[in-house]
C-alpha cells in the first residue's frame, strides 16, 4: 500500500494552510506597516497569521482520526508526543532563565517553531528505535 488517502489529504491540507499562512502574514505585516488596518480590525488582522497555524494542529488531529493504518497512526502519535514534550520543556526552561534575566525575552510563537522541530525529532526517534519500519 502506498501512502494512504488520509496521508494525501493531510498533505493537501498542509499545503493550503502553509499558503494561507504566507498570504495572511504578508498582508498583516503590509497592513500594519502602511497603517492600512482600521482600529476596529487591529486585533483580528494581528491574529490572522495564527489561524492557519492553528489549522495545522487541526489537520494533524484530522489525520490521526482518518488514518486507518494503526501502526502508521502510532508513529505520528509518538511524533506528536515528542513535539509536545520537547517544546513545553524548552518553554519551561526558557521561562525560568528569562525570569532570572539570564536570557533575552522570546516571542511566544517560538514555542510553535520548537513544536514543529520536535515533530522532526520524533520522526528521528521513530527511525532510530524502529529502523526500517520507523519511517
Amino acid at each position: 500500500m502506498a501512502h494512504s488517502t488520509a496521508w494525501k489529504r493531510y498533505n493537501w491540507r498542509l499545503i493550503w494552510l502553509s499558503l494561507s499562512y504566507a498570504i495572511f502574514l504578508i498582508a498583516a505585516v503590509y497592513g500594519f506597516k502602511h497603517q492600512l488596518v482600521p482600529n476596529g480590525l487591529r486585533y483580528f488582522v494581528a491574529v490572522l497569521p495564527a489561524l492557519p497555524i492553528i489549522g495545522i494542529f487541526g489537520a494533524i488531529g484530522r489525520y490521526l482520526v482518518e488514518e486507518q493504518d494503526e501502526y502508521v497512526r502510532m508513529l505520528m502519535v509518538r511524533q506528536v508526543l515528542w513535539a509536545s514534550a520537547f517544546s513545553l520543556s524548552l518553554a519551561t526552561v526558557w521561562g525560568f532563565l528569562d525570569n532570572f534575566e539570564l536570557v533575552g525575552h522570546a516571542d511566544g510563537y517560538w514555542i510553535v517553531i520548537a513544536w514543529f522541530f520536535g515533530l522532526g525529532l520524533g520522526g528521528l526517534y521513530n527511525k532510530l528505535t524502529l529502523g526500517e519500519s520507523g519511517c
Binding site: M1, D69, Y71, L130, S133
Partner: protein
C-alpha cells in the same frame, strides 16, 4: 509479541508488500509486526489470522504462555 508471520508469508511466497496489500495496511506495518517491534490491535490480529485461515494462537505466541515455558 512473537509470531509466525514471516514463516506463513514465506509458505505462500508473498512479499511484505503482497501481505500489506491483502491486509490493507502499509508495508512498514507488516515489517514492524513481523520483527516484533509492534503488537497489532486485536481486530488487526484477527484479520491476519483469518487471512491465513488459522486460529489466532497459531499466528501469535501468547506472551504469558511463553514466559511460563508452556511453549
Amino acid at each position: 509479541m512473537e509470531n509466525r508471520l514471516r514463516v506463513l508469508r514465506a509458505t505462500r511466497a508473498w512479499s511484505q508488500a503482497d501481505l500489506a496489500d491483502r491486509l490493507e495496511v502499509s508495508r512498514q506495518s507488516v515489517n514492524a509486526i513481523e520483527t516484533g517491534k509492534y503488537d497489532p490491535s486485536l481486530p488487526l490480529a484477527f484479520r491476519i489470522a483469518e487471512l491465513f485461515a488459522l486460529p489466532i494462537e497459531e499466528v501469535f505466541v501468547s506472551p504469558s504462555r511463553r514466559s511460563s515455558g508452556a511453549i
